[in-house]
Each structure stands twice: as structure tokens, then as C-alpha cells.
């Protein structure tokens, strides 16, 4: 009897499967929205779960806010309603292809994302084959755009960010020995450390590099290693969760130098975890709150009015740089749709290279590879009293 029930379970699932096939096979032609207007779909390819879940969610917030500000777009004289299709790529490359295929399957005209370069590269293959253009929002690894014609990017890249940080540490902080800490198996961490080390050594400094295994929680020994190496700065371009652990350990061990982080550190949680501690935390990022007061006020109001959004933002209304980038990416996509004069992905892809847009985070314009032309990063420091990010300076590469 049990076996039979199990069999019935299978049959039921199989039936569901067939039903699923029927429902979702077709290429989506322009559909009609609730208001009767035509709909254009923008895919959101972001992690909502896994290590990069928090970051991905904040990036989505920017897009959702942008969507609430500008829910329609004028394409070839017709008004289209913009619909965001959000699919979770779960942070890891092995879930990338199917998540990307799901987006293509839903008939999106252009894709935004992802937070995290590895999963972007993994999904890029599918977008490339399907001929759907993608706009990287905060994935900074150069390979994302160099590998695929379909991939564009609106943020700076690691070959810029690494040297910018190195030059800030060497010239700005006057440090000659740096200790780098990266997670084993994270291409983002390792890549950034690579560019940082290259530049820092070229400037005349010494770098000690160490890795920690995924899932580590105790960073005390690493901080001790940094101390005994005489490092004036710890550069750890790790995900937000590990960033908090490192700050915690550094303060417990009384590390006196600076903790240097990359764009991933630009997160409310990280700033908050430095509150009341004797540490100095500095990060590079894409945007500094206060850069556009009107925008800040608007998004804060929206976040506060929207409990889900507030939860996803980490429970407060601080504006993360990735959120701003998400916002700009949305509008860049709208510009591309307008320029293409069509919802056809191919047309959008052809229109993208020549799109320019004055975003909140600055001027956006693509080069030959598809990268944004950016030569400045913002340096911020965590205020250990308020738990907010304070602006330090604008950093370029010298």
C-alpha cells in the first residue's frame, strides 16, 4: 500500500510537471497589463538567498523603488508598463544557468544583475545564447563583460577598485605593510586581493596574504597574524557577514591599524557592527548618501512606507550604494529600451553601447567592452558612534 501511495505521489508530481509545461512554454509576446497598457519585462537576476542574499536584496530595492518612481516607459511612441521579473540565483554558480533560463523563459527584454560576479559569469552563457542583454549592476570582476557581448556594466571594476584601495592605503594612510584576508573559493575576494597586492607592491609596500575557509567564524588568529606581521592595514574584501566577524575580532584583539573593505562592506550591518568599538573601518564604494539629497529623501520615504523593503534593507533606512546602483541600472535599462524603440532583446542589445545616462551615482557611459567609464570611487568610514557611513574622500588611481 505504501509503495502504491509513493507511486501516486510520483504520478501527481508528473501531472504537475506536464501542467507546468503547458503553462510556460511560449515565448512571451508583449502582453497586456492590468491597466490595459502593453507590458515590457525587465529581468532581475539577483541572489536573494545564500551568502550574497542581503546584498542582492538591497540591490533589488533600488530597482523596485525606481520602478515605483517610473512605472512606465515610452517605446516607439507607445506607453509600456514596466514589470520586474525577479528570479533568485541563490548566490552560487550552479544555480545560475537555470535561474537565467527561467528569466529568458519569462520573456524579458533586458536583465539587471547580478550582485556577485561568479554567478553573473555563470548566467551570462544563457543570456548570450538567448541574445538577451544584461546590465551588471555591482559585479566588479572584469571577466563578466570581457567574456560576453551581451553583458554591460554600470559600476567600476576590480582592476580599478584594487589599485584605488592600494593607493589610498599607501598614500592616504601612509601604510607600508598590508595584510590581506580573502575567503577560499571566492573569486571576488581573491581577484580583488590580486589587484590590490599588485598595485600595493608596485607602490613599494609589502603584502602578506592569507585565506580562510568558507564557514569560518573565529577570526582571532588571523588578526593575530596580521598584528605579528606588523601590518598597518587589513584589507579583506569579503562578504558582509565575514566583514562583521572580522571587525568583531579586530576590536577584541585590539588591532590598531585600519580595516579596509571593498564595495561589499558598504552595508548598514557592517557600519553598525563597528559601533562602540575601537576600530577604524574604511571602504570603497559607488555612492555616498547625501550625494543627491532629493533622491535620498525619496527612497527613505519609500523604504519607511514599505515594511518588506525595510526588512530587506536590514531594518533601517540607510541608503546602501548597491541600492543606488540598482536604481541607476533600472533607468539605464529604460534608456536602452527607448533608444531601441522596441522590446525585442536583440534591438535593446544593439542600442545599449551608445546609451548614456546621468545617474544618481554619476555619469554612465559604456566603453568597447561594455564597462562603464568610471575613474572615481568614494571612500567612506564607519562612524563608531552613530553606526553610519561618513564620507572621507573621492579616490582615483594615481
Amino acid at each position: 500500500m505504501k509503495k502504491f501511495s509513493a507511486l501516486m505521489l510520483t504520478l501527481a508530481l508528473t501531472a504537475g510537471l506536464l501542467a507546468g509545461c503547458g503553462g510556460s512554454g511560449e515565448e512571451a509576446a508583449p502582453e497586456s497589463g492590468e491597466s490595459g497598457a502593453k507590458v515590457v519585462k525587465i529581468g532581475v537576476y539577483e541572489p536573494q538567498t545564500g551568502d550574497n542574499g542581503p546584498g542582492g536584496k538591497q540591490e533589488i530595492l533600488g530597482m523596485q523603488y525606481a520602478n515605483s518612481v517610473q512605472p512606465t516607459v515610452e517605446i516607439a511612441g507607445e506607453t509600456y508598463e514596466v514589470q520586474l521579473e525577479i528570479v533568485d540565483n541563490r548566490t552560487t554558480p550552479e544555480n545560475g544557468p537555470s535561474a537565467a533560463a527561467e528569466l529568458v523563459n519569462r520573456g524579458v527584454s533586458v536583465v539587471l544583475g547580478s550582485y556577485g560576479s561568479g554567478v553573473s559569469v555563470a548566467g551570462g552563457q544563457v543570456f548570450e545564447e538567448a541574445g538577451v542583454p544584461a546590465i551588471g549592476v555591482t559585479c566588479t570582476n572584469p571577466q563578466v563583460t570581457s567574456d560576453y557581448d551581451c553583458y554591460f556594466r554600470i559600476c567600476f571594476t576590480d582592476p580599478f577598485q584594487g589599485p584605488a584601495l592600494a593607493s589610498y592605503a599607501y598614500d592616504g594612510l601612509g601604510v607600508t605593510t598590508a595584510y590581506t584576508l580573502a575567503m577560499l573559493g571566492s573569486d571576488y575576494d581573491q581577484g580583488l586581493v590580486h589587484y590590490f597586492t599588485e598595485a600595493f607592491e608596485a607602490l613599494g609596500g609589502t603584502v602578506i596574504s592569507e585565506d580562510f575557509p568558507e564557514g569560518s567564524a573565529n577570526f582571532v588568529s588571523y588578526i593575530n597574524n596580521a598584528k605579528s606581521a606588523g601590518a598597518g592595514v587589513i584589507f579583506a574584501p569579503v562578504s558582509t557577514n565575514y566583514a562583521q566577524l572580522i571587525i568583531e575580532a579586530a576590536s577584541a584583539q585590539g588591532f590598531e591599524g585600519s580595516l579596509l573593505g571593498s564595495d561589499t562592506w558598504d552595508n548598514n550591518k557592517v557600519a553598525e557592527s563597528a559601533v562602540g568599538k575601537d576600530v577604524s573601518v574604511e571602504v570603497t564604494t559607488f555612492y555616498q548618501e547625501g550625494g543627491d539629497p532629493e533622491f535620498d529623501a525619496g527612497i527613505k520615504e519609500w523604504i519607511n512606507a514599505n515594511p518588506d523593503a525595510k526588512t530587506n534593507n536590514g531594518g533601517n533606512d540607510m541608503v546602501a550604494a548597491v541600492t543606488v546602483m540598482g536604481y541607476d541600472a533600472y533607468f539605464t535599462a529604460l534608456e536602452a529600451l527607448k533608444a531601441a524603440g522596441s522590446t525585442d532583446p536583440q534591438a535593446v542589445m544593439e542600442a545599449l553601447p551608445s546609451v548614456t545616462y546621468e545617474g544618481v551615482s554619476g555619469h554612465i557611459e559604456f566603453d568597447d567592452i561594455g564597462d562603464a567609464k568610471r575613474d572615481q570611487a568614494y571612500i567612506k568610514t564607519a562612524n563608531t558612534e552613530t553606526g553610519a557611513w561618513d564620507f572621507v574622500k573621492v579616490q582615483g588611481v594615481e
Partner: protein
């Protein structure tokens, strides 16, 4: 059902599967979700069957599958990345230490299309052999251990392997923590189905041979098996090595499917996932493992995505259908199977028994009162 009818039935089902995959290739573009999902499911099916050979048929509780897949995946990637792409892939390691690409070597001899395919298959094979070799070495000390100790030791080996592949000192070969990519991959469904099908067919043949019977004897009673002249060490090692060989090939195919290779996905959680697929299908049933792989991957990657996204079967409840609900529902189903349907979907039955199972099921459904007696 007579034996002849059973064979006929099996042949028809297999032919239908092949035809279906050809149809998918004809009518759906390679980026279609169905294509992605079928590819992933076939890979999982192969790995699940290889695990079943070990855990289900030989009774060796090994949790090292992810490690062997890792080996296969890396071997495939390292050997097939085109030479002119190596500089960009191994960007932090000066183009890496290996300056040839197996498919390119073969295409120099056999021509572009044939050569590339042969080269890809050869790389898969190397991956499998590498995994088999590693299994042989690991097996020497580890296979003497009893059930749960074996499980934990193989799990440990997989973790050690992962650390090695992420080690920067090996970077010129493994690219350290960075992705391997730009390697050739089959973009259609049929190569996956055929490849996995051939491998699984071999495993089925092996299981039904005198060696397969010896494996089952070891599973049922090790002491009796040894007393009847079955060399335990040799047969266990054989099962371990063969299973790992196919896990290695599965890893290579997984690499093809993913388009990028990193060590991170090959964690113990991957092994657990595959183990649970084996359990859902029925420990000791090849057909069960294959069916369960398809069910699992189809639902998790495609059909039940709605459970996470707010709307499922037309019911809109964003409060309940939020991130993680899909996996929560899954794990509840798995626990129900583990506790109440311990034999899984198929028990130890195989494809040829399916019509009889269905017929019995219907008969029981018609006469529920007598069902219990008939089912014994």
C-alpha cells in the same frame, strides 16, 4: 507480465526518452528552461545512480560523491579550455601551467566538429579515471572502516580535496579560487541523455552480472559473503572505484552544464542532496534514482519556483510563498519518505517491473479491503 513483454516495455520507454530528447532539441532553443533542467537532471541521475551502486547495492555508506565530482569537473575544465582563452581564464596566474587543449589537439587530427566532440569525451574520460584513481588511493585505508566511520571519512576526504583545489599554490592548474570557464560544452539535450544513458546502462549491466550479485551479497551479509569466497577488500574497492569513476564523469558533465567551474558548489551539501535523491527513488533501484533525479530537479528548478516567488497554482500568498518555502516543503516531503515510505518510489524494483506495479496499485485501489492481504 512475461519476460518478453517486460523487455519490450523497457525498450519502448527508453526509445521514447530518446525521441523526447530529440524533439526537445528540435523545437526548443538551447537557453530554454526545459533544456537547462533536463541537462541538470541527467547529470544528477548519473551521479545518483553511481551513488546507488555504492550505497544501495554494495551497502557502503560513502559520502564522498561531491569530492569525486569535483575532480571530474576540474579535469574536464583544465583539459578543454581553448589555448587562446587560457590567458584570460588564468588571468591571475599568467595563463596557467597547461598550454594545450584536448579538443583542439583532436580537432587538428579529426577535423573541427568530430575532433572537438572526441576531445570533450576524452576529457570526461580522463576526469572519470582521475576520480577512480583517487578513489583507489583513498579506498586503501578508508574502506576497512565500518558504516558510519566510512561515511564520515569519505566526507572528510571530499572536504580536504576542496581545500586543495582552492589552494593558490596550485593556481596555475586549478586557477585557485577563481572560476574556470570558456570551455566547450554540449548545448543540446540529446548528448547529455545519451551519455548518461550509456553510463547508466553499463551500471545496470554490471549490477546484473556476477559482480553485481557479489556486491549485493556484501550488502546483505558481509560475513557470509566473505565465507563464500568473495574477497571483501577487492570487491568493495571495485565498487568504490567504479562508482567514483562515474561520479567523476558526472562531475565533468556538471561542469559542462554550469558553464563555469569553482570548487564551492562541490560541498557536502551536494552529496546530501544526491543521497536524498537516491532515498526518494528507493535505495537499490536504478530506475528510482533516475526518476527521482528528474522529479527533484524539475520541481526545484522549474515547476515549484512559484513557491518561492509568491504565487503558486494561481494562489497568491506572498506571506507564505516566500524565499525558502520551496526547499522547506521539499525537506518535509523527504522526511515523510524517509520515515513512512522507507522504500522510496520504486523500492528495489526496476523499469521492467513498472507495469506490474501500476496494475497492482490499481487493483488495490479498486479493492481497498483486500489490498492489505494481497500486499502481504
Amino acid at each position: 507480465m512475461t519476460k518478453r513483454n517486460k523487455t519490450l516495455f523497457t525498450a519502448v520507454v527508453l526509445a521514447a526518452a530518446l525521441a523526447a530528447s530529440l524533439l526537445v532539441d528540435c523545437f526548443l532553443p538551447s537557453y530554454h528552461i526545459a533544456v537547462q533542467v533536463i541537462q541538470k537532471a541527467t547529470v544528477y541521475a548519473l551521479v545518483a545512480v553511481s551513488m546507488n551502486l555504492l550505497n544501495g547495492f554494495t551497502g557502503l555508506f560513502s559520502l564522498g560523491q561531491a569530492g569525486f565530482m569535483l575532480l571530474g569537473a576540474y579535469a574536464y575544465g583544465v583539459l578543454t579550455i581553448p589555448v587562446d582563452k587560457r590567458a584570460s581564464v588564468y588571468q591571475y596566474f599568467d595563463g596557467g601551467a597547461i598550454h594545450f587543449s584536448v579538443p583542439e589537439i583532436f580537432s587538428g587530427v579529426l577535423g573541427e566538429t568530430v575532433g572537438t566532440t572526441v576531445g570533450m569525451l576524452a576529457a570526461l574520460l580522463v576526469g572519470g579515471l582521475l576520480a577512480a584513481l583517487m578513489a583507489y588511493l583513498i579506498g586503501l585505508p578508508v574502506l576497512r572502516l565500518k558504516s558510519d566511520y566510512l561515511a564520515i571519512a569519505t566526507l572528510g576526504f571530499a572536504e580536504i580535496l576542496r581545500a586543495f583545489f582552492q589552494w593558490n599554490a596550485l593556481g596555475p592548474i586549478t586557477n585557485g579560487s577563481n572560476l574556470l570557464k570558456s570551455y566547450p560544452a554540449f548545448s543540446h539535450v540529446t548528448p547529455y541523455v545519451v551519455l548518461a544513458g550509456v553510463m547508466i546502462a553499463f551500471i545496470v549491466l554490471l549490477i546484473n552480472s556476477t559482480y553485481g550479485r557479489a556486491f549485493k551479497a556484501i550488502r546483505d551479509d558481509e560475513v557470509a559473503a566473505e565465507a563464500m569466497g568473495i574477497n571483501l577488500a577487492r570487491h568493495k574497492r571495485m565498487a568504490f572505484v567504479i562508482s567514483s569513476f562515474f561520479a567523476g564523469i558526472g562531475g565533468g558533465m556538471m561542469a559542462m552544464y554550469m558553464g563555469t567551474i569553482a570548487a564551492a558548489p562541490f560541498k557536502s551539501s551536494l552529496t546530501y542532496e544526491i543521497l536524498l535523491i537516491v532515498v526518494i527513488g528507493g535505495i537499490g533501484s536504478i530506475t528510482g534514482s533516475v526518476l527521482a533525479s528528474f522529479l527533484y530537479i524539475f520541481s526545484s528548478e522549474w515547476l515549484l519556483r512559484g513557491l518561492d516567488a509568491g504565487t503558486f497554482l494561481g494562489i497568491n500568498a506572498p506571506g507564505i510563498f516566500k524565499n525558502g518555502f520551496r526547499m522547506a516543503v521539499f525537506s518535509v516531503i523527504i522526511m515523510v519518505i524517509v520515515l513512512f515510505f522507507r522504500r522510496g518510489l520504486m523500492g528495489d524494483k526496476e523499469l521492467p517491473d513498472l507495469p506490474d506495479m501500476l496494475r497492482n496499485g490499481i487493483r488495490k485501489l479498486r479493492a481497498p479491503g483486500r489490498g492489505k492481504e494481497a500486499g502481504k
